[in-house]
Symmetry: C2
DNA sequence: GTGATTACGTGATGTAGATCACTTTCGATA
DNA sequence: TATCGAAAGTGATCTACATCACGTAATCAC
């Protein structure tokens, strides 16, 4: 399916737009093809765009003390990703984003999102809905962090995204779970 | 200051409404006075309202296995709180909310929020902004959880909300940090 | 194909924090 | 003011996970 069609399906699950409205909306997106390993946003730089994933898998991650990497999000098709803190507050990125696999994405600038939100009330509704969804997911993950041990969180992650197991190297899954790669390795080898 | 005035100031930091528009907006809120210890939302029940805090302090918490309590949010004046998962999805509450101190709040029903959002475009913008802010805060807390040890998170919390130290019992601060009360106690007694 | 880089497994050891058990202090109410 | 329940401090012990160190397999680069 085409990028335009994928975005349209995604949007119209939530709001209704006429064909002209959607064309106008879509005109603000720019398609990009990224190669595996390519950097989309890098820490310390300006952030002007957010990204809607058409195909492939990206990761949004934070690097502390230039050493430890924590993955905030694996961005799969129909997911949105960016450093939203930097994007909204017009500050330098503290989060980096790169491609785990080759990927097709659509970019939308902060300016254009706000413009579209004020032009088309349903679009504003859509983005409110989307942000709310992200908020709830983040809160759920926070709770899981406090409440569950590593093994439970690992199984939770894989049951939600079974593709990840073959798609991304194990040390990245460890970085998402917030444990060392050694601990994760022992988890599924020791524990049967 | 009056509740209406506090809400107005809060809202108009983000959006502009005429006096009539704000009056219309405000007409959907209902004032409540709660006593210390009083329950606002309890797990397992329907959730119809969200709450805007005028004075006092509430806590939103999750109880796992009827035993361990994890605090998701201390809701201070001008903060919004509810079980948003249950509120948006019309499901039973998994999160409870009660009052740490006597409190004045304004309630707004899910239905009325959505009505106001569709009637007044700026109100939709406001709630998108607010949700976005919550999302960023939640993400920041998640990162802090993965990256910092308990002592650092404790100091981070107190530097952000110094009032909490005298306002809420220590075991609740421990429940927010996700550690046992014993560990928290040793933290500031052993470590100077 | 060869060498280098990256992924992954696994043992040994150290440590932050949980848990249990008990004591002390505080604050509300009779 | 005395009493009782909740909050808070503290010691002993246990455990999940980090860290370090090393080895092997897989993948990439030329």
């Amino acid at each position: 399916m085409e990028a335009k069609e994928i975005l349209k399906q995604h949007i119209t699950q939530i709001i209704t737009l006429t064909d002209e409205q959607f064309d106008h909306f879509y005109a603000h997106f720019k398609p990009h093809s990224f190669k595996k390993g390519q950097i989309v946003i890098s820490e310390g730089e300006r952030v002007e765009q957010e990204y809607f994933v058409i195909s492939g898998c990206l990761k949004a991650f934070y690097v502390s003390d230039e050493v430890k990497t924590y993955i905030l999000q694996f961005a799969m098709p129909t997911w949105w990703t960016s450093d939203y803190g930097a994007l909204y507050n017009q500050t330098k990125a503290t989060i980096s984003i790169d491609c785990i696999t080759d990927a097709e994405v659509l970019s939308l600038s902060n300016h254009d999102r706000e413009k579209l939100c004020s032009e088309l009330h349903p679009v504003e509704y859509f983005f409110r809905w989307r942000t709310n969804r992200g908020y709830l997911a983040s809160q759920k993950r926070l709770l899981s962090f406090m409440n569950n041990d590593t093994k439970a969180r690992y199984e939770e992650l894989l049951s939600q995204y079974p593709q990840l197991y073959n798609l991304v190297p194990k040390h990245l899954i460890a970085a998402y779970l917030g444990v060392s790669r050694e601990t994760l390795s022992r988890l599924y080898n020791t524990h049967r």
